[in-house]
Amino acid sequence: MSKLYKVKLRVNGRDYELEVPGCERLVYTLRYRLGFTGVKEGCGRGECGTCIVLVNNEPRHSCLTLTARLDGAEVVTIEGITPPGILHAVQVAFIETGGVQCGFCTPGMIMVAKALIDRYPDPSVDEIREWLTSVLCRCGSYSLFIMAVKKAVEYLKKGQVFFTEKEVREKLHLKVLG
């Protein structure tokens, strides 16, 4: 039996105290211990980028990160970029552009897009391209993702960061519930 390590993690704004073996990867901890299944494991070797989460506000491949090395770190997954029931401008832009096809890479794409906008509030197309290459999309909606990031930047410039479900549904002419 391998040794267990005590790790304090703050995931999506909530504190967790875990005991994990040294060889456990963050993607496993997030998906199977904590239930954040928005994190997807694709290749498991840092090429496809679907498992990207924000660790201390930096985009990191959770398949190449050992949980036991992250004592005291803050992790944000796709579930935690906004409070429940509210969508972030980046997410709304992705929905509006229709860049999501099968949707497997979308969590990774959105995390990278958010990390980009956090650092460069007004990125050039080249910068968007360079950042989004971190994630592979086998449906090939790259051009739509670039449009989505541009759209998100527009929202954020106008100060629109969060959207409620009602706003999103009205925007997309979906049936408004309740």
Binding site: K3, G22, G49, I52, L64, V112, W131
Partner: protein, 296 residues
């Protein structure tokens, strides 16, 4: 033990890490960014060690870029992303660092990967080794018997093998500060633009006086036999003292390079193709440096 099974050791200081590595040699392996090591273990290319020594606690101590007493000192745990916020990306004398940065993995990998880790990997596609060879860099190592500084060229023994004593860690990269009118360039070719190993890599460093070449250093991913980066010294000697021009670059790459460099054939591509691409890479880097220094 299974394939992906190991324990982690979290050292309290550099001394502690070195002592643990030395006393558990070869069962303990240091882990910096983990973007290469974990894949190697996963793929079964190396046996999972008993312990991985987590270098993250040393991050504060070993992550910096300083210009001091004629040297540029880069801490081994400086991530590739951190390099982009330093003088290395703002000064024309280090222009090659920008080139490598844009060809290095993907953005997300650049947040994890460290420059020390890239050197420790010691493969033909360790881009920073190719560039640092062109800068004539030295590496500072710390072990149980103290510190020593070794030229990077001497440190590289073979593919994935460095001349390290048990327990020794790479702690710093030392680059002699380039004079004014010096610059560098890096080029890497593969089938895609990024996330590539590179069928041919090359870095060039030139110090010019007017058009005259005072110092030239050219490195390639593979020069001969061993699949590790190396310098092309015959070419450098030929260039020294001559005037940089497109004709000269054309001449050295077309006539001299094939005699010096010997590539290998594998399932990716043939030796002939690799050689052609190396010629183009050397040509482009030399001309880019010329352009950066405003003489071409």
């Amino acid at each position: 033990m299974g394939r992906f099974m190991f324990d982690l050791y979290r050292p309290t200081s550099l001394d502690d890490a070195v002592k643990f590595l030395a006393s558990n040699y070869p069962d303990a392996v240091p882990i910096a960014g983990g973007t290469e090591l974990l894949i190697l273990i996963r793929d079964g290319k190396i046996k999972a060690p008993k312990y991985l020594v987590d270098l993250a606690p040393l991050k504060k101590q070993l992550s910096y870029v300083r210009v001091e007493s004629g040297y540029v000192k880069i801490g081994a745990l400086t991530t590739i992303w951190e390099l982009s916020n330093t003088i290395l990306h703002r000064d024309i004398r280090f222009a090659g660092f920008r080139d490598v940065w844009h060809k290095f993995g993907t953005i997300a990998l650049r947040f994890s990967a460290t420059i020390g880790g890239n050197i420790a990997t010691a493969t033909d596609f360790s881009d920073y080794i190719v560039l640092l060879l062109a800068y004539d860099a030295s590496i500072k190592l710390t072990g149980t018997s103290g510190e020593r500084v070794v030229p990077l060229e001497k440190l590289l023994v073979d593919r994935r093998r460095l001349d390290l004593k048990p327990g020794e860690l790479i702690v710093e990269v030392l680059i002699p500060e380039p004079p004014v009118n010096a610059s560098s360039a890096f080029e890497k070719f593969d089938r895609r633009r990024i996330l590539i190993a590179g069928l041919a890599n090359s870095a060039s460093y030139l110090h010019l006086k007017g058009k005259k070449i005072i110092e030239a250093r050219i490195s390639l991913d593979v020069v001969r036999e061993k699949r590790i980066p190396g310098r092309v010294k015959l070419l450098e000697d030929f260039l020294k003292g001559r005037e940089l021009s497109e004709e000269l670059v054309e001449k050295v790459t077309e006539e001299l390079l094939p005699g010096i460099v010997e590539k290998y054939t594998d399932w990716w591509t043939t030796a002939e193709y690799r050689l052609e691409m190396s010629k183009v890479a050397v040509k482009r880097t030399l001309l880019t440096v010329g352009r950066r220094l405003g003489v071409i």
